[in-house]
């Protein structure tokens, strides 16, 4: 599972019906990127087509990042990868990934993720929830 292959592009699968997630996506998009980040709504036909190996329900539940080499990061790890892909945030990503901070990051991310419907507005209008 560990390889030395460089990750050159990442694709973020996010919950497009959640306002908070869209805000996060907008923020990520505006930051200068060291590694190009692409955004695809989780459970969208495109996501299903490109990543048939991913469970759509799971990608909707937790932020999922897929690397160009097929690497899959979920939840807090996915957030660390997003930060890592931004110019000038690699040091922060490295610090967050340390054994001291990773458990805390994991609990914060999981808390926000579980309460994201309450923390922002939530709409089902895009029809991207799993059938």
């Amino acid at each position: 599972m560990t390889s030395d292959r460089a990750v050159r592009r990442v694709t973020v699968l996010y919950d497009a019906s959640c306002n908070l997630c869209r805000t996060a996506r907008g923020w990520l998009e505006r930051q200068p990127q060291a590694v190009p980040i692409e955004f695809v709504a989780a459970t969208s036909p495109e996501a299903r087509h490109r990543y048939p190996f991913l469970d759509p329900a799971m990608t909707l539940e937790d932020l999922t990042v897929v690397g160009d080499g097929g690497e899959v990061w979920v939840g807090a790890k996915a957030w660390v990868v997003c930060l890592w892909a931004l110019e000038g945030r690699q040091a922060l990503a490295r610090r967050l990934s340390s054994p001291a901070l990773m458990p805390r990051a994991r609990s914060v991310v999981s808390f926000v993720s579980r309460h994201r419907k309450a923390l922002g507005t939530y709409e089902d209008s895009c029809g991207c929830t799993p059938a």
Partner: protein, 137 residues
């Protein structure tokens, strides 16, 4: 030999071995840093180490010789010891400053090498993926 000449002789006899001792310490221990900086290239590390130590000797022995002259009257043994202690104290301080400067430079070189190897690691995110999907034909 009068007191002044004896003081000069003693000064050179003590200051030069002191310089050599510090230089040898630098030579022995600097190698490890340089090997790290030059990624284990033994020849290059040895060459840079020798060059650094030669520079160190030249600067220090130059200082020792330039500072030889004692401006005060040295007529008694007490005078001689006082003059000698001032001279040797100055040599020790210069040696110490140069030595610490050398260690600082070596450490900076090393840190830069460590940082550039970290830059290599930047090509991969700091967290291992939860899964890797390898397309099967």
């Amino acid at each position: 030999m009068n007191h002044l000449a004896a003081t000069y002789a003693l000064y050179v006899l003590l200051a030069v071995p002191l310089t050599v001792w510090v230089g040898r310490t630098l030579f022995r221990n600097g190698k490890v840093f340089l090997l790290d900086v030059f990624a284990g290239d033994d020849d290059l590390a040895s060459a840079v180490n020798s060059l650094l130590v030669v520079g160190f000797y030249l600067v220090n022995i130059g200082y020792v010789l330039l500072a030889l002259r004692i401006g005060t009257q040295v007529t008694t043994t007490t005078d001689a010891f006082e003059a000698l202690s001032v001279k040797l104290g100055a040599v020790a301080l210069v040696l110490g400053a140069l030595h610490l400067g050398n260690v600082y430079v070596l450490n900076n070189l090393r840190r830069r090498a460590v940082q550039s190897s970290r830059m290599q690691a930047l090509h991969r995110p700091p967290v291992e993926p939860d899964a890797v999907w390898t397309p099967t034909a």
